[in-house]
């Protein structure tokens, strides 16, 4: 039994879990990690990474369509071989999950395959065996939420997990939910050749992002041929004559070969086991403080399971902090400057407050908004990516960054700069003075800062 005693036990091998396990091991802990499926969690297996392989395929198709404009003589007829799209995805995923396994091995973390749950405050059962640990870090992650509409059990209704394994391209794809996942997959399947419709119940896409960006994205998606319907609810999914239809609240009826259900994600609390009534939860999320402590001493919860911010990169940080504290540290997580990216085409990326939040906090008169369009950026134009803009929200009194929002081809890469500067507490004023490489997309950020200061060189004089 001796080998079943650990300092730290981690349940779940996703971004929070594997990072927690590695960090605890780095700090000298004897660590066991339980994973019921594949290492890497939703991010690597069913989320961030696989969707990006699809989106790269979509990007290539788009480039091929645009190639003639850049002088390439080619046949712009394109199509996808879904089996190969999926195989390519699987290859990338396999490579990354394998990498996670290798990292865990190199840190001497014991990985146990199987569904694990707490049977006591220091006790975990997995595969008929009982393990004990001084501290337990719960990283159970999340699963796609289902909504109770009639016909939701229709076999043509897929979650994001299932759609990534489709070997055949659906001719008509209806996406329920215009959040990050819905928009990204719409941007993949539309260039593949599917006729895509997004149905969103609220009045806007990507509800957590800045409204202006959401509106811009909607316009772009519509322009690229995606049918975007906001403020529309699905009332029923019905099979008629071998076909599947969605009945909408506005009276319309949509035909679909496949339906993607992407209405959000809910926590997976199965790992709480016998302690499900003892560990405090709120609205289905495990309640933690900034140090990732749950209501039970020596039990931590990191990642999606605590619902603080369901992103892989916040899960990494939370896992690290949980591990430090499980090993006797006193660390906290600061989620003030977390970038969020939507890998739609074009991309959307944000850090800090949205304009609405900043106005609510400081009032409109206290703010200056700087904006610079990629249409005025040399590099963006050369790349044939003139769409979008960088928007900087500044608290004028302190020249402080409240938020930076980018809409455009390179948004997800570009957001790292404002994130770093905001974390380092650089001011908008100084950023406007920093020399940025020319020509580069990143200049647009500097120019937006200068615009907020009222001294942008490359914009016409404002009256």
């Amino acid at each position: 039994m001796a080998e079943m005693n650990y300092q730290v036990a981690v349940i779940g091998g996703g971004p929070a879990g594997y990072v927690a396990a590695i960090r605890a091991a780095q700090l000298g802990g004897k660590v066991v990690l339980f994973e019921k499926d594949e290492l890497g969690g939703t991010c690597l297996n069913r989320g961030c990474i696989p969707t990006k392989t699809f989106l790269k395929t979509a990007d290539m198709i788009r480039d091929i369509h645009k190639a003639a404009q850049h002088g390439v003589i080619n046949d712009p007829t394109t199509g996808v071989n879904m089996e190969k799209v999926v195989a390519n995805k699987d290859h990338v995923v396999h490579q990354l999950t394998g990498g996670v396994g290798a990292l865990l091995r190199s840190n001497q973390v014991t990985v146990v395959k199987g569904e694990a749950e707490l049977t006591g405050e220091h006790e975990i059962a997995c595969g008929g065996k009982v393990y004990t640990a001084d501290s337990v870090i719960l990283c159970g992650g999340s699963v796609a939420t289902r909504i109770p509409i009639p016909g939701i059990e229709n076999p043509n209704v897929l979650t994001s997990t299932e759609i990534l394994d489709l070997k055949e391209l659906p001719e008509k794809l209806v996406i329920i939910g215009g959040g990050v996942i819905g928009c990204e997959l719409a941007c993949a399947f539309a260039p593949f050749g599917s006729q895509v419709t997004i149905v969103e119940a609220t009045d806007r896409l990507i509800p957590l992002m800045d409204r202006e960006l959401a509106d811009s994205l909607k316009e772009s998606l519509i322009k690229s041929g995606i049918d975007v319907r906001t403020s529309v609810k699905i009332t029923e999914i019905r099979s008629e004559g071998g076909k599947t239809y969605l009945l909408c609240g506005d009276g319309t009826k949509l035909e679909a070969d496949k339906i993607l259900l992407s209405v959000g994600r809910g926590t997976d609390l199965s790992c709480l086991g016998a302690l499900k009534d003892k560990i405090r939860t709120e609205k289905g999320k495990v309640v933690v403080d900034d140090g990732m402590h749950t209501s039970v001493p020596h039990i931590y919860a990191a990642g999606d399971i605590n619902g603080r911010m369901m992103l892989a990169h916040t899960a990494f940080k939370m896992g690290e902090v949980a591990a430090e504290n499980a090993m006797g540290g006193h660390k906290t997580v600061d989620l003030s400057f977390v970038p969020s990216c939507v890998y739609a085409i074009p991309q959307v990326a944000s850090v800090g407050m949205t304009e609405d939040e900043a106005v609510a906090k400081y009032g409109r008169d206290a703010l200056r908004i700087g904006k610079f369009p990629f249409a005025a950026n040399g590099r963006a134009l050369s790349c044939g990516e003139p769409e979008g803009y960088v928007k900087v929200i500044m608290l004028e009194k302190y020249s402080e960054f409240c938020g930076v929002h980018i809409f455009g081809a390179q948004a997800a890469e570009m957001i790292a700069e404002p994130t770093a500067l905001m974390g380092a507490e650089m001011t908008v004023e100084e950023t406007a003075d920093m020399i940025h490489a020319h020509p580069s997309f990143s200049e647009a950020f500097m120019e937006a800062c200068a615009d907020a200061m009222g001294r942008c060189i490359h914009l016409p004089k404002k009256h």
């Binding site: 009194k397 302190y398 020249s399 402080e400 380092a424 507490e425 650089m426 001011t427 004023e429 100084e430």
Partner: protein
């Protein structure tokens, strides 16, 4: 050779106390190694060696207070000769700036003694040169020159905002809000001052909540004056005893049944008051007052009652209470209380009291120390009547109990008399027939 100065640890620091040297003369020291402990007006801290070498000299001993930037020791190579101790310690300056200043002052024959004016800031030429080199704003420097001019040592001592380890945003917040970063503790990496640090340093002390000011009414003033002078002019002493009022309560209940015939609802307070008045018959010193030459025992019992009203405490008086029956006393007291609450007391109603009763029984109060209304010699206080376990006829049972408190003027009588008063009161209240027959 390098001088060791008394460091200037803050804008306002004028002098510092050397608590003790941490090194002996001849000890090797490393640059930045703590060599002494000093105390400012705010903190105690270790100060570091300005150079590597050996400690050549200590110009001041432990526990000595000197102005900031005074030379207090030297570090150099073994065998180096220490210059003669500075003649005027209080005027000590770092040698280099002083020399340079002297040189420049000599060179500038046109204005040999006057500080050069540049804008509004008066500064010596060398101070200006240093300020320019170091990017120090002269207007922010505290001047120590005899004519109020900024001297080189002031520039050297000025906190350099740019050198402060703070984020740009933190500096901006400090600038806008007028926070001196030198006084802010950083929580960022390696002590870097972040925005939140400036905000917590700038946060005003919790807002002082307004004190409610209630103007003194004439009655409040009178109560204050009377209470204060009473306590200061008499030898007041208090005692208390618990009495069993079960029988008294039963009596009151029986009397209530006869309220029609009696023409009044006899209250427990009526009974207590009546018993007290009867007690005075055998204890005339309780109805007396002290004068410097004699004790005055009053022929009548003018019973004063403490009555709480919405405008303050009043003490209306039942004159000649000793000549009244229980019913008469009850009616007289009710009349006075009603008029007191209706603000209809006459001057006469409030004069001539010789003995006072105060009843706290409607509140959860048992024992208390009443204050004597001068010049009366005795005040009796009644606490609440409350059921509690008590020993009665050798058994523990539930009895209605009350605490009787007394304050008396020790100049008029002593503890023996008060014991006797308490004994009588206790007997009367526990066996009511005894006072009813008086």
């Amino acid at each position: 050779m390098t001088e060791i100065f008394m460091p200037k640890a803050g804008m306002d620091m004028k002098e510092g106390r050397l608590i003790r040297w941490l090194k002996e003369i001849g000890d090797p020291v490393e640059k930045d190694e703590p060599i002494m402990e000093i105390e400012t007006d705010k903190i105690t801290m270790e100060a570091e060696a300005p150079a590597t070498g050996v400690l050549l000299a200590k110009l001041i001993g432990d526990d000595t207070t000197v102005p900031v930037l005074q030379t207090i020791g030297y570090i150099g190579q073994p065998g180096e000769k220490v210059p003669d101790a500075p003649a005027a310690a209080a005027e000590a300056e770092s040698a280099a700036p002083a020399a340079a200043e002297a040189a420049e002052t000599k060179a500038d024959a046109a204005a040999p003694q006057l500080p050069t004016l540049n804008g509004a800031v008066a500064a010596t030429p060398y101070a200006k040169k240093l300020a320019a080199e170091k990017g120090v704003d002269l207007s922010s420097v505290t001047a120590s020159g005899p004519a109020g001019e900024v001297r080189a040592r002031d520039v050297l001592a000025a906190p350099q905002q740019n050198a402060v380890n703070a984020t740009p945003l933190a500096k901006k917040y400090a600038e806008v809000n007028g926070v001196d970063l030198a006084g802010v503790t950083g929580t960022g990496y390696d002590g870097k001052i972040r925005k939140s640090d400036v905000l917590s340093a700038a946060a005003p002390a919790p807002a002082q909540r307004e004190i409610t000011r209630i103007p003194l009414t004439p009655i409040r003033k009178a109560i204050a004056r009377n209470m204060f002078s009473s306590l200061h002019s008499m030898a007041q002493t208090s005692d208390s005893v618990e009495v069993d009022v079960t029988e008294l309560m039963a009596l009151r209940k029986r009397l209530l049944e006869h309220k029609e015939e009696l023409g009044t609802k006899i209250t427990i307070n009526d009974l207590l008051s009546y018993a007290a008045v009867k007690m005075i018959k055998t204890h005339p010193l309780a109805n007396a007052s002290f004068s410097d030459t004699e004790i005055l025992c009053y022929p009548d019992v003018n019973l004063s009652m403490a009555v709480a009203t919405d405008y303050g405490l009043t003490s209306p008086v039942v004159h000649g209470a000793d000549r009244m029956s229980l019913v008469e006393l009850s009616l007289a007291m009710r009349d006075l209380v009603t008029r007191a609450r209706d603000r209809k007391l006459t001057a006469n109603d409030q004069q001539g009291g010789t003995f006072t009763l105060t009843n706290m029984g409607i509140f959860p109060v048992d024992n208390f120390n009443p204050i004597l209304p001068a010049p009366q010699s005795c005040i009796l206080g009644f606490g609440r009547c409350v059921e509690k376990p008590a020993v009665y006829q050798g058994q523990i049972c539930i009895r209605t109990m009350m605490v009787l408190s007394v304050t008396y003027d020790h100049r008029v009588f002593d503890g023996g008399e008060v014991g006797s008063i308490m004994k009588t009161m206790k007997e009367y209240l526990e066996s009511p027939e005894l006072f009813l027959v008086q």
